[in-house]
């Protein structure tokens, strides 16, 4: 090469091209940004939106890291809390956003996101602290009742209506569950997230006990009559053998899928799984309420936020905006996620095109508009949820409901006194 006169002959042309290619290669390499993205969903759930985003934004790669739901918050705490730039983007459980913001673990998005149209207001509220947006709402949630048609038929119990105004009461569900067990069902009824606040808050709300936290988020009250009534009912489900003990959230859906239980109050995200389960003949109905009480359903889900220590803030914001607000991106997110999208346009498209079960979209929309109760917005939510979860598990295992609630209330107050 060195003996050749530059610009003369095919060999030097080849050399120049190779050099140019190398230069191009290095410069493209230098521009390539890899975003680390962390959440509790299985990697398959995120593949679609990541592929769509990467196709639209050459030079940005997204690397998804899956961590267990139970450990998500402690991992955020250890990594983001310690100033680590990884992950760049993470999924934030909406009721924990206030506490994440207080600890400086979420980037203020207000300079980046000036307009946010077509997103469910309660989801935006849940992602806002002191008037500033700290995360973009990705999904919302609700709960429905699944029933096993074969088990109900065997006991001669009528299928419940899907009409929200004709919903079952918890008392009916318990009575029917007992009948179904007498006719051969292994269990009567149970909850999806069987010992978590998200799932059980509506029981207390329906029994008149409120969320357990005052509106300003500073006082806890889970020892009132409503809470005790709700938890006495909850305890009886396990005491009477209607619902199984020892089964953890995440294992509960299998009990319904295996045809072991008549009713299952759970998330609409199990629809695809149950639909493709062979031999499972199921229907859906609204979430129950207490006789004479208010109708209340769980809600709230995920927002995605950016780590303030990220080295690639601009790209990270671009990614979450694509996943939450872009018509294609939001739909791809919803397809993988299986949760109802917080983006209202996407919501309709997602349910008409992907979940082809009659009435489910209308039911969820109606619940979100009329009966959903968001979890308390308080910086002490983590302590609240942890000690309530402990109380639920103790009650489920036979502890006296009033005692367990009183223990939890004292523990929460004590933990909050540290703040």
């Amino acid at each position: 090469m060195s003996t050749q006169i530059p610009g003369n002959g095919p060999r030097s042309w080849l050399g120049a091209t190779a050099l140019a290619l190398i230069l191009c290669g290095t410069s493209a390499f230098a521009e390539d940004v890899t975003l680390n993205f962390m959440g509790p969903e299985a990697p398959a759930a995120m593949e679609k939106v990541i592929a769509a985003f990467e196709a639209e934004n050459p030079g940005i790669k997204v690397n998804y890291e899956n961590v267990p739901f139970n450990d998500l918050n402690s991992i955020i705490q250890t990594r983001v809390g310690a100033g680590d730039p990884d992950p760049d983007v993470y999924t934030a459980d909406q009721p924990r956003i206030a506490s994440l913001v207080k600890k400086g673990q979420l980037l203020d998005l207000s300079p980046w996101v000036t307009e946010i149209d077509g997103v469910i207001q309660s989801s935006i509220d849940a992602s806002t602290v002191d008037g500033k947006l700290y995360a973009l709402p990705i999904s919302t949630s609700s709960q429905i009742t699944y029933y096993n048609k074969d088990l109900l038929d065997a006991a001669g119990i009528a299928h419940p209506s899907i009409d929200p105004s004709a919903r079952m009461t918890w008392e009916e569900m318990r009575a029917n569950g007992k009948e179904a067990m007498a006719a051969g069902s292994e269990f009567g009824f149970m909850w999806d997230q069987i010992n978590r606040y998200y799932q059980l808050q509506p029981l207390a709300e329906s029994a008149g006990g409120g969320s357990g936290v005052s509106a300003d988020g500073t006082a806890v009250d889970v020892t009132n009559d409503g809470w005790v009534k709700a938890m006495t009912f909850y305890a009886s489900a396990f005491e009477d053998g209607l619902a199984p003990r020892g089964v953890q959230p995440g294992q509960t859906k299998d009990v319904f899928a295996n045809g072991q239980i008549a009713y299952f109050v759970g998330g609409p995200w199990w629809l695809p799984l149950f639909s493709r389960t062979e031999g499972l003949n199921f229907g859906i109905a609204p979430h129950p309420y207490f006789e004479g009480g208010e109708m209340a359903t769980p809600t709230g889900a995920w927002s995605w936020g950016v780590n303030p220590n990220s080295d690639h803030v601009e790209e990270a914001v671009k990614f979450i905006m694509y996943a939450a607000l872009h018509p294609v991106g939001a739909l791809e997110t919803a397809k993988g996620f299986g949760l109802p999208p917080a983006n209202t346009t996407t919501f309709d498209v997602y349910y008409t095109e992907n979940i082809k079960i009659d009435g489910v979209a209308d039911l969820i929309k109606s619940e979100l508009a009329n009966t959903s109760r968001i979890r308390p917005r308080t910086t002490g939510y983590v302590e609240f949820e942890t000690f309530m979860g402990k109380a639920f598990e103790d009650i489920r295992n036979g502890a006296d409901p009033a005692d367990a609630l009183s223990t939890a209330e004292k523990a929460i107050e004590r933990a909050w006194s540290r703040n």
Partner: protein, 310 residues
């Protein structure tokens, strides 16, 4: 003891050039190379063991805004029923699990060394649970312990015994954790005891047999006393491990039911990584460290007592 080792050292140095100035030089060199060989381990020990302990000690006097609060975190802990309960639970857990594990590990080691036709195969089988990470064996046991549809209750029913509540009962949860921790622990600790049994000199055993001692007498008066070192190691290490046990509690019971399995290590984890209350967790760690050092110190003291007594 110290006289012994200095004699050894002199001999070691004297191998090259006995009784000269170079003897001193050789000793000096031996010390130097010992320091050099040990320094990587020392540096790591200081960096990853000692430094964090010192940091935790200082952090325990701060609040979450890093302001000096003196003994406030300790006061909060010692006034907290939940912390005192977790200390009580941890001590009870250790009083139960350590003797159980050591006796079973010794029994297992004796079976392998004295009783097994194919010791290699039994040794491997005995070690299998150790290969499974504790987190995974916790999950497996968690499913097996399920009261309504778990395999353990199914077996109990099949042989005509009453079913049990296992992890879901405040009275049985700790025992269940002991069972699963021992499933892993017994195999591991018996490994050291198998090695210890093999090191008991054959001639001593033969002499005992010639004197007419039967199996149990030989075991009690000859083999066990000669196994003091491996037994002491297993006792101290097992105690330290069990005082710091964490994974099964975090995965299966989260301290419940009704705080019956709320081991201190789990309480520290929850304060540090769930509630982000690092100063409180630091104070708790210091208190746990004091308890661990006191217990292990007591064990060493008693083992030395017995040695000088015998």
């Amino acid at each position: 003891m110290s006289a012994d080792s200095s004699i050894n050292l002199t001999r070691g140095g004297a191998l090259l050039s006995p009784g000269s100035v170079e003897d001193k030089k050789g000793r000096h060199q031996a010390t130097l190379s010992a320091i050099l060989f040990l320094s990587p381990a020392f540096v790591l020990l200081i960096l990853f063991r000692l430094a964090p302990v010192i940091q935790v000690f200082f952090d325990s006097f701060l609040n979450s805004s890093s302001e000096w609060v003196g003994l406030e975190n300790y006061r909060f802990l010692l006034e907290s029923d939940s912390f005192l309960n977790s200390i009580r639970v941890t001590l009870l857990f250790n009083v139960l699990i350590n003797p159980i594990q050591i006796v079973m590990a010794l029994g297992m080691a004796l079976l392998i060394v004295d009783g097994a036709k194919k010791p290699g195969m039994w040794q491997t089988l005995n070690l299998l649970p150790v290969v499974v990470p504790l987190a995974i064996s916790s999950l497996i046991w968690g499913v097996a312990f399920r009261p309504d549809d778990g395999i353990i209750n199914a077996i109990l029913i099949a042989v005509g015994l009453p079913e049990q509540r296992w992890l879901t009962s405040a009275d049985q949860a700790m025992m269940s954790i002991i069972i699963l921790a021992s499933w892993v622990g017994v195999g591991y600790w018996s490994l050291f005891l198998v090695a210890g049994l093999h090191q008991v000199p054959k001639d001593v055993m033969e002499a005992a047999t010639l004197d007419g001692a039967r199996y149990w007498r030989t075991l009690w008066y000859v083999r066990l006393p000669l196994m003091r070192r491996p037994l002491a190691f297993v006792l101290v290490a097992d105690t330290a491990v069990n005082l710091l046990l964490f994974a099964p509690v975090q995965i299966l019971t989260r301290g419940g039911p009704v705080d019956s399995t709320n081991l201190v290590m789990f309480d520290i984890y929850r304060n540090a990584f769930v509630f982000a209350d690092l100063p409180l967790a630091a104070a708790e760690t210091v208190l746990l460290l004091i308890v661990v050092m006191a217990i292990v110190g007591l064990q060493f003291f008693m083992l030395n007592q017995r040695r000088s007594g015998s």
